[in-house]
């Protein structure tokens, strides 16, 4: 990409990208550790995830301030504007992912002595799919790769379906074994958190499309026409803004 005449602006954008990258690595680790801790019943690792959230929050604050400074002092436009707006959005997604990882970690000790219950659900597979979605969403975002972004969004349906199936499995268990209601409820929430992780990954993938093509694809899926508030298709205007 061509450099700006104002090198300070390039430096600031690069620094922002680097911060987002570091936060992404940290959050991915938090999520992976939370899922590992759940599957292995590793309390020490779960505690590590809970304590690690402060660092995620610190990145969140730093990135938000960085974006505010860039918007106020450098007045970015076009792709630079989309980059800063997306950074704000992805920052929020990552912070929520961090919260979801903590939520999973916090429930691990509460599953005792029924940690094996997890193997009767789709949670293991959901963890694998969600982790892969996060990794690919971040690749799509950093490389503005629309094809990879699309592959992430498609997988969100798999996770949604597994979450629904977990609901049936776990409510059946509750009916049959009232003594497992508490543990099964925690697993329901863990399943919901994995579903949230996949949602956040999907949001990041959608930001990749916004940066690359200036298209806002969330809420309407790919390839469908823009619609106004009444649900009627709208024709794009010369400036690419459909007015919505």
């Amino acid at each position: 990409m061509t450099d700006h005449i104002l090198k300070r602006f390039d430096d600031e954008l690069e620094k922002l990208g680097s911060r987002i990258g570091k936060m992404a690595v940290l959050v991915q680790q938090q999520v992976t550790d939370a899922i590992d801790a759940l599957q292995r019943g590793d309390m020490a690792l779960a505690l590590q995830v809970i304590e690690g959230d402060d660092k995620v929050d610190l990145y969140d604050t730093k990135i938000e301030k960085h974006c505010m400074r860039l918007l106020a002092l450098q007045q970015p436009v076009a792709i630079d504007l989309r980059t800063v707006l997306s950074a704000l959005s992805v920052n929020r997604n990552l912070e929520r992912m961090g919260d979801a990882a903590v939520n999973i970690a916090e429930r691990i000790p509460l599953l005792e002595p029924h940690t094996e219950l997890v193997t009767r659900t789709h949670i293991g597979v959901m963890g694998e799919v969600a982790t892969a979605m996060i990794k690919d969403a971040l690749t799509a975002f950093t490389e503005a790769d629309v094809a990879v972004a699309r592959s992430v969004v498609v997988r969100d349906n798999i996770i949604d379906e597994q979450d629904l199936q977990n609901f049936d499995i776990l409510t059946d268990i509750m009916r049959e074994h009232p003594e497992l209601v508490e543990a099964a409820s925690h697993l329901l929430m863990i399943s919901r958190n994995l579903e949230r992780l996949a949602d956040e990954a999907t949001n990041i993938a959608e930001e990749a499309v916004f940066v690359a093509d200036a298209k806002i694809v969330k809420h309407r899926g790919w390839g469908r026409p823009d619609r106004n508030e009444d649900g009627n298709p709208t024709a794009p205007t010369a400036d690419g803004d459909n007015g919505s």
Binding site: I5, L6, K7, F9, A72, L73, Q74
Partner: protein
């Protein structure tokens, strides 16, 4: 303030009976860019010109209070104004190259300062043009008239001319307001580069420019200093309502 280069205390300035500056006390940090902003007639240019005694040449100007540079009162008796202005380069809104060659424009200052050695002058010209980010564009036509340069190049030539006499302060009065966006960006990048060596004050009507290039910003209104602080603070969370109203475009 630590490392302050210029400090004014209770500075008042009158054009005859009309008071243009009211009790300005301000410390300008060394080797930083300070932007002076405010609506037309607020006193920002008057303030800038009081720092190198350019207002002295206007009849009926009277000043009270003090202006200190490196802790020396520049309005004290016996101060050599020519010597003072040698330490303080000034760049104006409209570029004003002399009708001479590019080389002679930059060499002008050192020559009248008594630098006679040709090699020394040539080195100074090259060094100044490099600092002003103009060398690569003009190195093969140094003998050509400066008036043949574009507006942006002429402005950078004027900056090079200021730098050639080794000032330690640069005063810029709307240095990019007559330039196109690319030439403006080059001047802004240059200002950012130069601040490692010089204390720079820039008067600008362009708030975005003040935000982009400066470390500190002073907001003037009706001859008074309303707020002075880090540019980051002024443009994200100013302390005074008047400043907020001005930077958000609600008056001015």
């Amino acid at each position: 303030m630590k490392n302050s280069k210029i400090s004014t205390e209770h500075l008042n300035l009158f054009y005859g009976k009309k008071q243009a500056l009211f009790d300005i006390s301000l410390e300008i940090p060394e080797k930083k860019v300070t932007a002076l902003i405010g609506p037309s007639g607020c006193g920002k240019s008057t303030f800038l010109r009081s720092l190198n005694r350019m207002n002295d040449i206007i009849n009926g100007v009277r000043i009270t209070g003090s202006v200190r540079i490196d802790n020396e009162d520049i309005y004290a008796r016996g101060v050599d104004v020519v010597h003072l202005r040698r330490r303080i380069g000034m760049v104006f809104q409209k570029s004003n190259p002399f009708p001479k060659s590019i080389f002679d424009n930059v060499a002008y200052g050192p020559r009248i300062n008594g630098t006679g050695n040709r090699k020394e002058i040539a080195d100074l010209v090259e060094q100044s043009l490099k600092q002003a980010a103009l060398w690569d564009e003009v190195k093969d036509r140094l003998k050509e008239s400066a008036l043949g340069l574009s507006g942006g190049q002429q402005q950078r030539l004027c900056i090079a001319r200021s730098l050639a006499v080794s000032p330690d302060i640069l005063l810029m009065d709307e240095p990019a307001s007559a330039l196109d966006p690319i030439a403006t960006a080059k001047i802004e990048e240059l200002i950012y580069e130069l601040k490692s060596r010089y204390t720079i004050l820039i008067v600008t009507h362009n708030l975005q420019q003040a935000a982009r290039v400066s470390d500190h910003t002073a907001f003037f209104y009706l001859g008074e200093l309303v707020e002075f602080g880090k540019t980051r603070g002024i443009f994200t969370n100013p302390e005074h309502e008047q400043t907020e109203n001005y930077v958000t475009g609600k008056f001015g």
